[in-house]
């Protein structure tokens, strides 16, 4: 037993993680959530369902993903050994597919012919469009108009996969607005539509089931660490927007008290500027958005704040409720990496290891570099390399002043 064992028992029956989470939705959505709750409860421990999920992860996604020792980069930094959990090598290029495979199986069991999703960087949209293509489901993806612009490549990928991409012009034209619009679609088309939420946020049961589907990465990393390092790692590092890849890596280690965990939020232009997307690190007050209570960036009047990050996938004012609790109980330390550090890490890993990380994942790398430098060489850090960077080439090129 660990002093963190209680954390494995959450959420409670009503979807709460301590004071966080819950189901703060309009009554019009309650039925759909109750239905989802029932479907998931009936399948969670169903060996056939789990076998189907595992089979898809093995043969379609290509799991397990490697745990790669970034020896050269570690040597250059001169401190702890950095290991990369290569979620970027999954089919579709990010961790997001673990969850969409799982939710698509739920959609299939629910008999609904249409799926919708919100997306920021487009990775979740692509992963949803992919599973929809495979299962023959109609697919519509909501994406903030600003993100449509900065993630053109993923937009085209989704269209090739047969999905309809709907640019969302309201609000700040980013991820939160895409989620608003997806919720509006769902409430209108709830009879025939399954909403595949891409992160560990939203109303209960989404934070739980997205966590459960992503936890495969942490289970593998734990086993691989024992095999390749010969023991558990000293620290885990992952980026946190909504927090799904971090939750996936961390969750299977939650009781391992000797394993430190760092969640790296988007520092944007720097926390002091207010132009960031780091509600946990900045100690944003509690708030309610998109169905759950969490740390939430809003102004004094409770209006949701505009966020900023070089990475579209982390550009979100809230964070999954389980992360909020983990901050409060001290299980995870939440820190931020600013855009400048992130771009440096992006370039460095590309040049030193030949691995081009997603800008989201580069947040984790930026912090891992600092952490490794502060530790001796016999310490081991596992970083979730949650996605590959191809989608970000336009963003980086633009910063370099290059037009294609």
């Amino acid at each position: 037993m660990s002093r963190f064992s209680d954390l494995t028992q959450l959420p409670d029956a009503s979807g709460h993680f301590g004071p966080y989470g819950g189901r703060f939705v309009s009554e019009t959505l309650s039925f759909a959530l109750e239905e989802l709750d029932k479907i998931y409860a009936s399948l969670k421990h169903d060996p056939d369902f789990q076998a189907e999920f595992d089979r898809d992860l093995t043969h379609y996604v290509g799991r397990p993903s490697p745990l790669y020792h970034a020896e050269r980069w570690s040597r250059e930094i001169g401190g702890a050994q950095i290991w990369l959990k290569r979620e970027d090598l999954n089919h579709t290029g990010a961790h997001k597919v673990n969850n969409t495979i799982g939710q698509a199986l739920l959609a299939k069991r629910s008999g609904k012919p249409r799926v919708i999703a919100e997306t920021g960087a487009g990775q979740h949209g692509v992963a949803t469009a992919t599973v929809a293509a495979r299962l023959g489901l109609e697919c519509e993806v909501y994406m903030g108009a600003e993100d449509v612009e900065r993630q053109k490549l993923n937009v085209y990928r989704m269209r090739l996969l047969g999905a309809k991409v709907v640019p969302v012009e309201s609000g700040s034209r980013t991820l939160k607005d895409a989620m608003n619009e997806a919720l509006r679609d769902w409430v209108t088309n709830v009879d025939n539509t399954f909403y595949i939420i891409g992160t560990v946020a939203g109303p209960h049961p989404y934070p739980m089931l997205v966590r459960d589907f992503n936890a495969v990465a942490g289970r593998e990393a734990r086993r691989q660490s024992l095999e390749q390092i010969g023991r558990l790692p000293d620290a885990l590092v992952a980026c946190v927007g909504g927090g799904s890849n971090a939750m996936g890596l961390f969750y299977p280690f939650v009781e391992d008290e000797e394993v430190a965990m760092y969640g790296v939020e988007a520092g944007g232009d720097g926390l002091a500027t207010g132009r960031h997307a780091a509600p946990l690190t900045a100690n944003a007050p509690r708030g309610v958005l998109h169905g759950n209570r969490t740390y939430l960036m809003s102004d004094e009047g409770g209006q949701i704040a505009d966020t900023h990050s070089v990475s579209a996938g982390l550009d979100y004012p809230g964070v999954g409720p389980e992360h909020a609790l983990w901050k409060d109980v001290g299980r995870v330390e939440y820190v931020a990496a600013d855009d400048h550090e992130v771009l440096a890490a992006f370039r460095e890993l590309t040049r030193v290891e030949g691995i081009m990380p997603a800008l989201e994942s580069a947040h984790a790398l930026a912090h891992a570099k600092k952490l490794a430098a502060s530790l001796p060489q016999d310490k081991h850090i596992v970083v979730n390399l949650s996605g590959r960077g191809d989608k970000d080439i336009h963003t980086v090129a633009k910063i370099d002043g290059i037009e294609f």
């Binding site: 703060f24 009554e27 039925f31 949701i304």
Partner: protein, 275 residues
């Protein structure tokens, strides 16, 4: 007991005694600018409104269609906050001590103000009820008692998809009236089937004595009358807010426009009640 505590109950009791149906307009506070809201509220009352639902603008109105989203945006351009909305209610109360006012919106502005501070200030301003669309009864916790202690009634939504078990819970916790959402979808959506609504309301009446008011899809006298035949009241939002939007550049013409459409609905509801 607070003298304001039962304004909503008193109003519905009077309506029932008179055999009339409640006409409940919704407008977004601060739309198109904060200076007009109190005038609009009075115009609604002059046209026969029985309860006013005053929308608290929110940056992310997830349950609303484009009409009310844009109203929120217009109001937020002027920085209309919950604290300003409470000032508007207090100003309205200077000339109207009887018409119940329900604040309608999303939870986060209240969460950020703090529940105790909100309850106190809302009571002092003369608010009678609170309808936070993203706060179902299960999530209210101790705030239900806090609101009740301050004479604030908690108004809840019911939907066509609400299970009987949930409906029982909601009816148990509901106060003032129940807001039946007649359509799947967001506010401002299209068609309305009064017969189906009537059948659903009939089954709800077995669960509660509370007045059942219907919103979503009511746009003119005919739809108001059709729903008035099966419900205790009609709630009209997007149809009003749409007219405000059309006249946002000439706000001085808005009170008359509100009086016209609400007058038509009032007339249609009362004609039906007499028949």
């Amino acid at each position: 007991m607070n003298q304001h505590a039962n304004r909503i109950d008193r109003r519905f009791a009077a309506l029932k005694a008179a055999g009339r149906k409640a006409l409940i307009p919704y407008i977004t506070a601060g739309d198109p600018a904060p200076a007009h809201t109190v005038d609009f509220m009075h115009a609604c009352v002059e046209a026969g409104a029985d309860v006013i639902e005053l929308g608290v603008p929110f940056s992310d109105p997830m349950a609303d269609g484009p009409v009310i989203q844009k109203a929120c945006e217009r109001a937020l351009v002027h920085g209309t906050r919950l604290s300003h909305v409470l000032e508007m209610v207090a100003a309205f109360r200077e000339r109207d001590s009887e018409t119940p006012v329900v604040l309608m919106g999303y939870l986060n502005p209240i969460e950020r103000m703090g529940y105790a501070a909100f309850a106190r200030q809302a009571r002092d301003a003369g608010v009678d009820g609170v309808l936070a669309v993203d706060m179902p009864p299960e999530e209210m916790g101790e705030n239900a008692a806090l609101f009740a202690d301050h004479g604030l009634q908690s108004i809840f939504l019911l939907a066509p998809t609400t299970s009987e078990q949930r409906a029982t819970t909601i009816c148990h916790h509901g106060q003032g009236y129940l807001y039946y959402v007649s359509l799947k979808g967001v506010t401002g959506a299209a068609t309305l089937d009064a017969e189906a609504v009537g059948a659903q309301l009939a089954s709800l009446r077995a669960l509660t004595e509370l007045p059942l008011c219907v919103g979503f899809g009511i746009r003119d006298g005919a739809t108001a009358a059709a729903i008035g035949r099966v419900a205790d009241g009609v709630i009209v939002g997007s149809a009003l807010v749409g007219r405000i939007a059309e006249r946002a550049d000439t706000p001085e013409t808005i009170p008359q426009a509100l009086r016209e459409i609400l007058g038509e609905m009032r007339e249609a509801l009362d004609r039906d009640a007499r028949a």
